[in-house]
């Protein structure tokens, strides 16, 4: 018996909890005629090049994650990487070496439609100069089956600001979208002040949210905080993804934001990636998947 993707996921019971978006289904709205169901995968904070006790298997974690994505019964339409592809280094040559190795590794993904954005570890020390050599623009848009995706860069400025130029670009882009457009924002840092005491915020994130707020169908996917987290600013949902190097503690749960220690009894615990099903008209179903099966 052939199973479709949703049936397969339900039967396979892959990964952790399924979070169903709280987006309401508006009635009487018109949507793009090509609106369709699809799914994509979010990988975040791979920190390629990291070496340290919080993940003694750092060199194997990204390859395992790639294998896990390739093993999905149905492959996603595309994959997004929401920043910190590499771990930071002061050496520009080493930075490029890590970016090159990362690019070579992810070339093994079966899905070839890959979307990258920088994290502060990739881009804050050189305003994403090296990142752009390998992956192109740090902010951009693309459309897929009736959803308008906006990749925002809140890391190339080391002070974590989006900046006037990019905010003006965002406004122009949003102004060009129909009132009922389905908008997904991809970014690295939280756009809202999740926990500013740990620098888990974007300096001018309120400006971006101000521009997005009049839009009724907006969802944000981001990384940076190395853990699953869900929050709403008014009607806008914000979903943080797990990391692929080490988990961090819950916001404000301890004095310092030091990594959660590696547990040899449960290697790769707290790490993972996410599958996002986009269903018309404006619902997203999130499935958290592990790096390695327990």
């Amino acid at each position: 018996m052939a199973l479709d993707r949703r049936q397969f996921l339900k039967l396979a019971g892959i990964g952790g909890a399924v979070v169903v978006s709280g987006c309401a289904r508006p009635s009487g709205d018109s949507y793009s005629a090509d609106a369709d169901e699809f799914f994509f995968v979010q990988l975040s904070d791979t920190h390629w090049g990291f070496r340290g006790a919080p993940n003694p298997e750092a060199a194997n974690t990204l390859p395992k994650a790639i294998a896990a994505v390739n093993a999905l019964e149905t492959q996603p339409d595309f994959i997004v990487f929401t920043g910190d592809l590499t771990h930071t280094t002061d050496d520009p040559k080493e930075r490029r070496r890590r970016l090159a190795q990362f690019k070579e590794l992810v070339a093994a993904l079966k899905v070839k439609d890959l979307r990258f954005m920088p994290g502060e570890h990739d881009g804050s020390l050189d305003r994403s100069e090296a990142f752009q050599e390998f992956f192109g623009a740090t902010h951009y848009t693309f459309d897929h089956k009736g959803v308008h995706f906006v990749a925002l860069d809140n890391v190339s400025d080391p002070a974590a600001r989006i900046g006037e130029e990019q905010l003006a670009w965002l406004k122009r882009d949003l102004d060009a979208q129909p009132a009922d457009a389905r908008i997904v924002v991809l970014t690295h840092r939280p756009l809202f002040p999740l926990y500013p005491q740990w620098d888990w915020a974007t300096g001018d994130g309120d400006r971006a949210l101000e521009l997005l707020m009049p839009r009724k169908n907006v969802t944000v996917f981001y990384g940076h905080i190395h853990q699953e987290h869900h929050f709403k600013t008014a009607h806008i949902e914000h979903h943080a993804a797990k990391s692929l190097v080490f988990p961090l503690p819950a916001p404000g749960s301890q004095p310092k934001r030091v990594p959660i220690a590696w547990d040899p009894e449960h290697p790769y615990r707290g790490l993972g990636f996410r599958q996002i099903e986009a269903e018309a008209p404006v619902e997203y179903k999130l499935t958290e998947l592990p790096v390695a099966k327990a």
């Binding site: 930071t88 280094t89 002061d90 890391v155 002070a159 620098d199 004095p255 310092k256």
Partner: protein, 114 residues
């Protein structure tokens, strides 16, 4: 040397509400990858102080969310932050300008005592 003065909103309000002090105490804090020196600073409640920052290497930041103040610390310059603590307690501060590996650990505490 070009000098910068950063005046936080909380500090500005405090200065207007309190009697003038004969001379503001100056507290010098040096920043370098990936520490503040000192990283523990004791201030008196209601006493105006000037925090003076310098950096030994790259662009750094100082931010104390609870007291509502921040400053950019640029190489070759002295950043000054006028502050009149309005509440007692321990308030964390950190570097909010990404400066490299272990940037996340660059932090300290302002102890405001009555």
């Amino acid at each position: 040397m070009r000098r910068r003065l950063f005046l936080g909103a909380a500090a500005a309000a405090a200065l207007g509400a309190l009697p003038a002090w004969p001379q503001e105490r100056v507290v010098r804090i040096g920043a370098r990858k990936f520490t503040f020196d000192p990283d523990e600073v004791t201030l008196k409640l209601g006493e105006p102080v000037v925090l003076e920052f310098t950096t030994a290497d790259v662009h750094m930041g100082f931010k104390c969310v609870e007291l509502g103040v921040r400053a950019d610390i640029l190489p070759g310059e002295v950043a000054r932050l006028k502050l009149t603590p309005q509440k007692a307690g321990d308030f964390g501060f950190f570097c909010d300008v990404f400066c490299g590996d272990d940037h996340e650990l660059m932090s300290g505490t302002l102890h405001v005592v009555a």
